[in-house]
Amino acid sequence: MNNKQETIERYLRQEMDGKELQNFTFQMVMDPSLRKEIEQTRKIFKTLRTHPNPSVKQGNNWLLIGLLAIVTIGGAYLFYANFIQDKAEESQRSEERPIAQSDPFQPNLYFEDLTTRQMDFVINIENEINAVFTIEKNSPFNFKIKAALLGKNIPNKLNLSIWSNSFEKFEADQPVFSEILEISNNNQLRFQTELNISEGLYYYIFTTSKTDEPIKSGKFILQNT
């Protein structure tokens, strides 16, 4: 696989803009072999999209299963020890809830399940956010977002919230950051802020400013040097 293939992928995933898109469009029009390769990759992507997901063990699943098993056994023990009913209910709830707060890097299943809703528009994030960032301890983290909104009925505002992976924080409706962002007239979104957050796994969620319906989510890891 070469840079050409990755360039084709970037084009098909709508990750190009500006001069790069201008140059690529020119090459695509002039070069029939490039067109053919684009078509081939597009067809592969379409077929993959309609292909059933294989059952893959996800990273650190063993830890999650282990912790769930411990909680289940603990719940059963409490039940047999004739604890009061609300204890049993809490135990049952513990089995269902994602166990994230025990490890700052453990994925939170609630957030993992958040998928992009079908809207008339899409948020095309242009900078690399879903990544691992390394900063010095006690230094603020510079969170930046650069996105373009494409489609119809594009709102003029969106709500951005950032959450730690802790389920308790989510239940208490306590994001580490939340702000309503303005969308510019040319449907661009530019935003950056300094966050004083410790190392761990964080989720960012875009929701509609009126109904708070999730539109797009992603995650990043922050670690100290």
Binding site: Q5, Q58, G218
Partner: protein
Amino acid sequence: MSTKYGNLIEYDPETHFDRFLKELRLNSQPEWTWLLSMFRDRVVPWLFKKDGNLPKEAIVATDEFVEEVFANSLFRFYELFPDGEFKNMGDLRGLIFRIGEYKLKEGYHSVKRDGLIYFTDDLHNDGSTIIQYKLTIEAYQEQDSVSQLREYIQQLNPTEQDILIRYSKGEELGSIALNLGLSAAACRKRKQRALEKLKELVSKK
């Protein structure tokens, strides 16, 4: 002179159209880049406005559909351009919009056809016979090649399949890596290798 669609043209293409057309006929990159950028600026928003007929079950998202229609319109424009007679920029714009309209209809048709091609395998009732009947010979051939491609995908190991499926649906590699417990570099490599394998298999066929 710096223009909106590229700063390599030192004149205004609208007022010096003859010169501009001459350069286009010589396949000059600055002129073509200018023209294609102007088309993108005007045709893509117009296509977005007209996308109401895209079926809900379409495999592609609206923005991908629009980009595909736009790209196909450009290819057709480039094919027709050598034989065309153009007096001003309006003639070039008129042609790309006419092609765009036609390619949009063709796009709707192919989205419906894709639905039949990609999802017919999932139908097990009598309805499948009716749908099969509607497929043209070309679509049958396409369906065969999709079935073949699916077999090739099955030949990849489950992790590779998972990476590619997520990636094709637009998930960022960083996110896929986090979900599968891989490093970003390893995930990228595995994605590259898996795609390479698929392309090799398709090319061999």
